[in-house]
Symmetry: C2
């Protein structure tokens, strides 16, 4: 099956909005074995919509359309679809019940303008939109499927995930399963080299995608076939077989993040945490506290940007700073132990480095970063050499520091 | 002049890469009065490229093409353009000098594969690419301009900004001027209502765009016409006339950020800063230290997530916390004064609030946030009520806190 995607909206053609929908939809279709032939963005213009639909239907068997379904006058997709299919709008009870439900949840009555959202072309099958008033619409004509969806990304995604992809899989008599494995402490190319034998051994119906982010690489397994149990077993087997190659890098699965995984481990141990940050400037504290409920295990941080603060408030001895400098094993260990004692926590993280762009020397170039973790049974410190980009250095140091703590907690 | 954008690359059609280029290019064209009729994404397929070019050239007078210019076999745009224009590749000295320069800067010799990057269709005018080996190419045929550029966004953007847009303006005999005005402390719709008389008085050749971000709204003025001096004067006049309406919200211009503006003010005053953060969890320190050189004025922060830390390390009296709670005017003032004294800084910021999703009460709902600024001449505190989204509350509180400091510094 070959597909095209058509996104409709003046905002796309004046550059006000980036079309993120198309790539997401293309990725979804690609994963179920449907190839996307072309993506076309056009304005809210009747003739242009009609021509584009006709041209696409001559080339492919599936057309996904987003946009132009709002209740205001400039949104003309629904009327144009009526012209295209030579039909007219009818009232849909199913679509109206959804509008009513959404308004009731917000405590409002349905306005006339929004009642219009339940009017749909007579030849369509209404697809529920759990997050908005504009329903999805499924048409079939002359061997081509047309699906029209709202352009609001989270509305479109819910409709695609909950309705369209399952229905297409049904039509194709196929199922699909995803599993994402999160790794840290290894770059994409090194990871790829290390797991190559495993990757080569994957059955052809499991696809692997590398999704790199600063400081981590996500591996996404997608299994596509006809039998859900068999696919599930194959994915579990692949996941298990990956472990000998990459187990030391794996820190989580699917929607996990480094801060959520670390937080869960602290919570399980009923342990508390504090941080002393120099070059990361509060970024680690900020990551930890981005998790709701983190106050249960996180007591606080000192961002010790000046040596004075490192001495007086974190408790780094003056002589250590004088002898070894702020970016050193001795200082970062003293920071971790200092904050752990002062804030009376079970664990502590400390980071001191040269984020750049200034401040580097031949001996300690930009990117040099010391990270320490203090625990009830001692303190460990590691040296990292990141790159020369300030923002990325800060992000990488933060992830590496949380990962050091995570490893300590799982030992 | 009417335009189309064609982006070429298999990665776009399998959803691996979001096409951010098209929206950016459309925005650039829109600002110089060129309307974009259609955006089309297609794969690296010869026949599909040829058809798409022919169809587009029948509709518009300008076609911008990105992608497919890499040195590897799957990149076929250049050869396909030769077929389209019925010509062949020739060696370009200009393009080769650029390749040499780029390799010399990295200390490498030019490989044969990269020498090929200097081969261009005989009928094109080479456009310099300062950031990559693939040159831009300008073609004209039968009243239509074709511009082919690499798909790497920062390469394409430099070519567009430095070469294509100026050359199109020349062709159109036009000039363009931008000015962005940054506001804080007012939502988009309220700001729009307050500045409506000013907006209505803008001359027709100045366009206004609202660009909202969490906690701030950027106003972008774009003047388009034939005389640079006149446009410049008109924009300066508009900027001046905005002041009576929105002066109290304006904190910067163009590439400024709240943290850069605040940092510049501190630097100018040779003043130092510390922060005590509860609900923002280190985000303010992180913003401040994202600016290179911030160690000149920022001494550090205490992220006081627990009351214990607020008492022992920030110096909030036990009785204040017991009587008024952590989220109160009294506590946040004591935090600001406490950190200012302990860290011996001229200024200090403190924030305490309920970021959510839990922790809200009828009296203090989620989003309730107290912010204090301590100065050499006293301490002020303000109460804010943000929304119910944790991440946005943290970002809004951070921007609002920096803005309170900024106002104090400019008084």
């Amino acid at each position: 099956m070959l597909a095209e995607i058509i996104t409709i909206g003046d905002e796309l053609l004046i550059g006000q909005v980036i079309d993120t929908n198309s790539a997401w939809m293309a990725g979804q279709l690609n994963m179920i074995g449907i190839k996307v032939h072309q993506i076309t963005s056009i304005s809210d213009n009747r003739d242009h919509i009609l021509t584009t639909l006709a041209e696409a239907s001559a080339r492919v068997q599936l057309i996904l359309i987003t946009g132009g379904l709002g209740p205001t006058k400039d949104d003309i997709t629904k009327h144009t679809l009526c012209d295209y299919f030579n039909t007219s709008l009818v009232f849909s009870d199913l679509a109206y019940k959804n509008v009513e439900k959404l308004f009731a949840a917000r405590g409002f009555a349905v306005s006339e303008l929004n009642r219009q959202q339940a009017m749909v072309p007579a030849n369509c099958r209404v697809i529920s939109n759990p997050n908005g008033t504009a329903p999805g619409m499924w048409f079939e004509k002359d061997g081509c499927i047309y699906v029209s969806m709202p352009g609001v990304p989270f509305e479109m995604k819910a409709i695609m995930e909950q309705e369209i992809i399952p229905q297409l899989l049904d039509k194709l008599n196929k199922v699909i399963i995803h599993r994402t494995i999160l790794t840290e402490g290894v770059g994409e190319s090194h990871l790829a080299a290390e797991i190559e034998p495993w990757e080569d051994s994957l059955p052809s119906f499991i696809k692997l995608a590398y999704l790199p982010q600063p400081g981590m690489v996500r591996l996404r397994l997608t299994a596509y076939g006809t039998n859900r149990d068999e696919l599930q077993q194959a994915v579990s087997k692949a996941e298990k077989e990956l472990y000998p190659y990459a187990g030391k890098y794996i820190f989580g699965y699917d929607d996990d993040t480094m801060e959520s995984v670390t937080g869960q481990l602290l919570r399980k141990k009923r342990a508390t945490l504090s941080t002393a940050e120099s070059c990361t400037g509060g970024n680690i504290a900020q990551l930890i506290t981005s998790i709701a409920g983190s106050s249960d295990y996180f007591k606080g941080s000192i961002v010790a940007y000046s040596n004075e603060i490192k001495e007086q408030f974190v408790g780094v001895p003056h002589q250590v700073l004088a002898d070894f400098g702020a970016v050193s094993e001795q200082t970062v260990k003293a920071m971790a132990e200092g904050i752990r004692n002062r804030f009376s926590t079970d664990y502590a993280i400390a980071v001191s480095g040269i984020a750049g762009p200034g401040g580097g020397t031949a001996e300690k170039p930009v990117g040099t970063t010391w990270i320490a973790v203090a625990t009830p049974s001692g303190t460990v410190a590691l040296k990292f050499l990141f790159g020369d980009h300030r923002g990325r250095n800060i992000r990488k140091a933060s992830v590496a520091a949380l990962n050091m703590l995570r490893k300590t907690l799982t030992e």
